[in-house]
């Protein structure tokens, strides 16, 4: 089986070599992406098979002179490997159609394709490698290749800005990870993850420092709230197939890191669990609330990634708490919810971003105020986007509901198992998850309603076509959402190896406790589907008998209704955004009507990210001001430099003789 995976990696390397040979962009685009897709299909065979049959694979790659780099595919790695490969396959097939527009506009895509393949390759390496140094090398490789994927359209300044945000954020996370792994190396004396898991006897100070640096490092990459500022800038800047992959799987590398971190520290420390819960809650609520105020499609979806990362964080927090009170069933429940939501989010977020890509292809803008009524023109994208929207809000028949259902169950089970203030805290987090669900419903009804339904709002109706290669991808992802929704038991079997490793539950008990109850959901949803189809049949029969006519919309008698009278995105979400005013930051740009015969007025509202502005931009300016205080050193006057020499001499002599060292 491992042969397939190695074949896949070799084919990826071959795909990176093609741009050197082929020079016609159109042929190049097809060749590289199809080869990538085939390579991913091969390695998918490996990961899926070894995941279901659960054969963990171990290998210690002994490179001459370099040393031994252990590669391993245990349950956790296999699950993330499967998710990455599945979505990269969808991404590369979608890329074929999407890159056509760049070729027409004459933008060179040679380097982009090389970095896209390198991104896919390095993401798989990050998950497989079990050696700290090699992990850091793969981590930075992933960061650099993702950066070059983002800055494909170098002409637009916001693309360059987005790329820069991404580049700085990943380097910041790398710095934290350097300290994290070096501290681990200091304690255990080796670079291999296996040794860290076996390490015992942590003293309190080092453990706290390890947990903080490790979590912050991975949280910046995952996009938890205080560190999320780069995400809504970087993902919209990328072309749709890249931003789809970034949101779906690239930030999951951070989640993989946190899960791997759990394996290192068997010591239970509840404080960290509660802190993780708090951060996850803030990310979930903040993410969706900021999404509500956005009017640009991809930026809105990026904020939703922050929200879903928060939800995954909730599952992980409960799993950590479960381990603290050493109840393996709670750990299994929480972790299963978190990992399944990782897979679900990867699937429907990629679906939504590819849908947004198609909208951009058609209307050449992703500003939702200028769109409308696209469902009639892009039927497949409309239907697929609807399925994506329903599943991201966690509504029943689809996959979003299953993972949120598991996380709710873990909250309630955790509440009943843990005494003291735990029930109150867990109930509050369950309620906030519901609150987040409500906000998500509001946000996605706004997005879908304004973009796909009603009439087109822009003056000149756009022209364009649906990327033909995207249709199978969208349909495939949508059916996957439905399949996980209707057959949750099967999806949980993908998660089972990782969960049983982490929680220590044997596979049989895991099957009975976790997978069996979820299997019983299938008949429930089947009944719902049957009832719906039945009602539909009755409705069609009744309407055929009674007759159907098409007329103008009933506007309470008002005759010439124009497209601009429809509810716009900002008016739809205005009240809710106003509620979060202090945190949310909403700028209204309008002049009040003063005298009797007012000239035409415009109104526009613009939601800005208070955390990003308040925290990071202000920090940037503060650093600039602080550093400017020292700007007088290079004054250009030679006599000042002579004074510096004498001054330095005196200061050093004072240090030498005044302080006793």
């Amino acid at each position: 089986m491992i042969g397939f995976f190695i074949l896949g990696l070799i084919l990826h390397l071959a795909a990176m070599a093609i741009p050197a040979v082929v020079h016609d962009d159109r042929l190049l685009n097809r060749a590289v992406n199809l080869l990538n897709a085939f390579a991913l299909a091969c390695s998918l065979v490996f990961s899926l098979n070894s995941l279901l049959a659960y054969q963990p694979w171990e290998m210690r790659l002994a490179l001459p002179m370099v040393g031994i780099i252990p590669l391993a595919c245990d349950g956790i790695t296999l699950f993330f490997l499967f998710t990455f490969q599945l979505l990269s396959l969808a991404g590369s097939v979608y890329a074929i159609g999407y890159l056509e527009q760049y070729i027409e506009r004459g933008i060179r895509i040679r380097w982009h394709l090389v970095s896209f393949t390198l991104l896919i390759l390095s993401m798989q390496l990050v998950v497989v490698v079990q050696h700290a140094l090699a992990f850091l090398v793969a981590w930075e490789l992933m960061a650099v290749s993702a950066y070059f994927c983002i800055v494909l359209e170098k002409q637009r300044p916001e693309v360059r800005r987005g790329g820069f945000w991404y580049f700085v954020a990943t380097h910041a996370s790398a710095l934290f990870l350097y300290v994290f792994f070096i501290l681990l190396h200091e304690k255990s004396g080796s670079w291999e993850f296996a040794d860290y898991a076996r390490q015992t006897g942590w003293d309190a100070g080092t453990l706290a420092l390890l947990l903080v640096t490790g979590f912050v490092g991975f949280a910046i990459k995952a996009g938890f709230m205080p560190f999320h500022a780069w995400l809504p800038n970087a993902h919209p800047a990328a072309p749709a197939h890249v931003s789809g992959l970034l949101s779906a799987i690239n930030i999951k590398a951070g989640i993989y890191g946190i899960v791997r971190m759990f394996m290192f520290f068997p010591i239970d420390r509840q404080a960290f669990g509660w802190a993780l819960l708090a951060v996850a809650l803030v990310s979930a609520i903040g993410g969706v609330w900021y999404a509500l105020a956005q009017h640009e499609m991809k930026r809105l979806l990026a904020y939703h990634s922050v929200e879903n990362i928060g939800i995954i964080g909730l599952g992980l927090a409960v799993a950590w708490l479960g381990r603290c009170i050493s109840s393996p069933s709670l750990v299994a429940l929480g972790l299963a919810g978190a990992l399944l939501h990782t897979l679900n989010h990867a699937v429907f977020k990629a679906l939504l971003f590819f849908g947004a890509g198609n909208v951009y292809l058609y209307a050449h803008t992703s500003e939702i105020e200028k769109l409308g009524g696209l469902a009639k023109v892009l039927p497949v994208t409309g239907a697929a986007f609807l399925i994506g929207a329903v599943s991201i809000c966690g509504l029943p028949p689809l996959n979003g509901f299953i993972s949120e259902f598991l996380i709710y169950k873990s909250f309630f089970q955790g509440g009943s198992l843990m005494g003291g203030h735990a029930p109150l805290a867990l109930l509050v987090s369950a309620v906030s998850l519901a609150f987040v669900g409500g906000l998500a419903v509001a946000c996605f009804t706004k997005l879908y309603g304004v973009v796909f339904l009603g009439e087109n709002r822009s003056k000149t109706p756009p022209h364009g076509h649906e990327a033909n290669s995207s249709i199978p991808v969208l349909v495939g992802l949508a059916t996957l959402c439905g399949w996980i929704g209707f057959a949750p038991g099967a999806a949980l079997r993908l998660v089972a190896p990782a969960v049983s490793e982490m929680s220590g539950l044997p596979a049989i008990r895991l099957g009975r406790e976790l997978i069996a109850p979820m299997d019983e959901l299938t008949p429930v949803f089947a009944l719902l589907l049957v009832m719906t189809l039945l009602t539909l049949v009755v409705k069609i029969w009744a309407q055929k008998k009674a007759g159907v006519r098409l007329r103008e919309t009933w506007g309470c008698g008002y005759q010439n209704v124009t497209a601009r009278m429809q509810y716009s995105a900002s008016s739809f979400a205005e009240e809710l955004v106003k509620l979060g005013q202090p945190l949310l930051g909403l700028k209204l740009h309008w002049k009040p009507i003063t005298h009797v015969l007012p000239e035409p007025r415009t109104f526009s509202s613009h939601g800005f990210d208070q955390v990003e502005q308040g925290l990071w931009i202000r920090l940037d300016r503060a650093i600039g001001r602080a550093l400017r205080m020292l700007r007088w050193i290079q004054s250009g006057n030679i006599r000042h430099y002579v004074v510096y020499i004498f001054a330095a001499l005196i200061i050093y002599l004072i240090i030498a003789f005044a302080f006793v060292w």
Binding site: F412, L427, A430, G438, G449, V548, T553
Partner: protein, 309 residues
């Protein structure tokens, strides 16, 4: 953890409930008319409306797409399915499993999602207004539901609706407080969700004040029938939820339990009618405050539980 209950009575019960839902709406309207000194339409008037609508011709707007055709079907089915999950008195509902409270809440969420989309589909500013208001109030509705039912689940230590209801013992020290508090907050929730008077006037046609009514402004014929039946089903759903919380004589034999449910339903209908005649509609800005009261009451529940033992 049996999901589908085997005895046919619960399934028959569901059919009976589905049929009886418009009757409850009729009773409430009748009581409201009586209280305001009018004779009022007959109790069965809602049935006549439904039958009339089923036969009328359906008119669709030119700018609407497949959503407008699909939404009524899903709205009706989700609400009906939610009723399936409900225990009546002490009888467990046809479907009950651990965590069905989450499915109940999110099923209603799915119905709301598609109803809002259908409203936005017809490209008219009135439906847009209703949709935006519905989306805003729905955001507060779900937390209330989870606070009350969730705290009861934690208190009784069981997670399926039917077992929570069975787990409510009046003799336990703090349970009377939990029951009163939960039923009040669910009652507030009912007023908001089923668009009863203080929050939204069910039978007004003034565009600026409507919330639920305006979302189905463009529905006609069979679609309107489905929407109206779904609305009455939702009213029945919430009132059944309140009654199953308020069943003081759980230890009575089951037959008496069902009779008791009917009595409590009647009392509830009377309360609704009384409130609707006595109170005027809230200003829209006050509605979030009203919902916040309900949430705070719900929080009371869990605070008592945490600090009691």
């Amino acid at each position: 953890m049996v999901t589908f209950s085997s005895n046919p009575f619960s399934w028959l019960g569901f059919v009976g409930l589905a049929a009886g839902a418009p009757l409850l709406t009729g009773i409430v309207n009748k009581l409201k008319a009586r209280l305001s000194g009018r004779l009022g339409a007959s109790v069965l008037q809602p049935y006549f409306d439904l039958v009339r609508l089923a036969r009328k011709e359906t008119i669709y707007s030119r700018s609407s797409g497949f959503i407008t055709r699909l939404a009524p079907v899903i709205v009706w089915n989700t609400t009906a399915f939610a009723v399936l999950l409900l225990p009546v008195g002490l009888f467990p509902g046809p479907i009950s499993f651990d965590g069905d409270i989450i499915l109940l809440a999110y099923l209603l969420g799915l119905g709301r999602f598609l109803q809002i989309l259908a409203a936005l589909d017809v490209a008219s500013s009135f439906e847009g207004m209703g949709a935006s208001r519905e989306a805003r109030f729905a955001v507060f509705a779900e937390p209330i539901f989870f606070f009350t039912i969730g705290s009861l689940a934690l208190v009784t230590g069981r997670f399926s609706l039917e077992s929570i209801v069975a787990g409510i013992m009046w003799d336990k020290p703090l349970f009377p407080i939990f029951i009163i508090v939960s039923s009040i907050s669910i009652f507030f929730l009912m007023i908001t969700e089923c668009s009863r008077m203080p929050v939204d006037d069910p039978n007004t046609h003034l565009e600026l004040t409507m919330i639920h009514e305006v979302m189905i402004l463009d529905a006609s014929g069979f679609d309107l029938m489905l929407y109206q039946h779904a609305a009455s089903l939702k009213l029945l759903l919430y009132s059944l939820l309140v009654t199953s919380l308020l069943n003081p004589f759980g230890w009575l034999n089951p037959a008496a339990g069902v009779a008791l449910v009917v009595v409590v339903l009647a009392v509830l209908a009377a309360c609704l009618a009384a409130i609707e005649t006595l109170m005027a509609r809230f200003r829209l800005v006050l509605v979030p405050q009203f919902l916040l009261y309900a949430t705070v009451i719900g929080v009371l529940n869990i605070l008592i539980f945490t600090f009691s033992h």
